[in-house]
């Protein structure tokens, strides 16, 4: 995992409560450099918002507020 991804992952983990308080469920939030850089009600609107701030790139970290991201999963194939 890249250090940038680790930084964004850590920022997301530590700000889950803040995200729930600031944004409605399902809202999309983008992180870069461990900081929130854009948010929007849909993925496509977020893409537009990222383009406005010059950050429409695949290495930007995006999560949805209120969605459960499990720490661990078990896969049977």
């Amino acid at each position: 995992m890249s250090s940038e991804r680790e930084k964004n992952q850590a920022a997301f983990q530590s700000s889950k409560e803040e995200l729930i308080n600031r944004f409605p469920p399902g809202h999309f939030v983008a992180f870069e450099g461990g900081k929130i850089v854009a948010d929007a009600a849909s993925f496509d609107q977020l893409t537009e918002a990222l383009a406005v701030v010059g950050k429409d790139r695949p290495d930007v970290f995006v999560v949805q507020v209120g969605v459960e991201y499990p720490d661990e999963v078990f896969i049977l194939i």
């Binding site: 995992m1 983008a30 993925f43 695949p58 720490d71 999963v73 194939i77």
Partner: protein, 138 residues
């Protein structure tokens, strides 16, 4: 016929035979990759692909998680099922070990699709085939 759900139906294949479906993954610069995926309703991830494919196709990075196959690196993918008119940005994961196991059934398989993906459509199977359909409007 109006009201008839559209459908993708596939004949089980691989050794051992596996349920599978065909998805288009479309990159941010509109490159279309049509790939075949084993279907497993017990898989808690919408879609798992190899790391090279994720690097080529992801629209954004996302939250990663641990698994019995190692780290699953999250990424947003544009997933299209043309027969259904399905076109959604979907949270997927990259893990080469999972894909290598899937390929033992059939080398052409590109990864694994799980229940979160299937719940966005309707799905089913019988003795000979597996299908996904556009959701029924009630």
């Amino acid at each position: 016929m109006p009201g008839t759900p559209s459908e993708q139906r596939t004949i089980y294949k691989g050794v051992p035979a596996r349920a599978w479906l065909r998805l288009q993954l479309i990159s941010a610069n509109d490159r279309i990759h049509e790939l075949e995926f084993v279907v497993d309703t017990g898989n808690p991830c919408a879609i798992i692909i190899d790391t090279a494919t994720m690097q080529a196709l992801q629209w954004r990075e996302s939250s990663s998680t641990n698994s019995n196959f190692g780290s699953l690196e999250g990424g947003w993918l544009r997933v299209v099922i043309p027969e259904l008119g399905f076109d959604e940005k979907t949270l997927g994961y990259a893990n080469d070990a999972v894909v290598n196991v899937v390929k033992r059934s059939r080398p052409e398989f590109a990864g694994l699709v799980g229940l979160p993906m299937l719940r966005m459509v309707e799905f089913g199977g019988n003795g000979g085939s597996f299908w996904v359909r556009s959701p029924t409007v009630h």
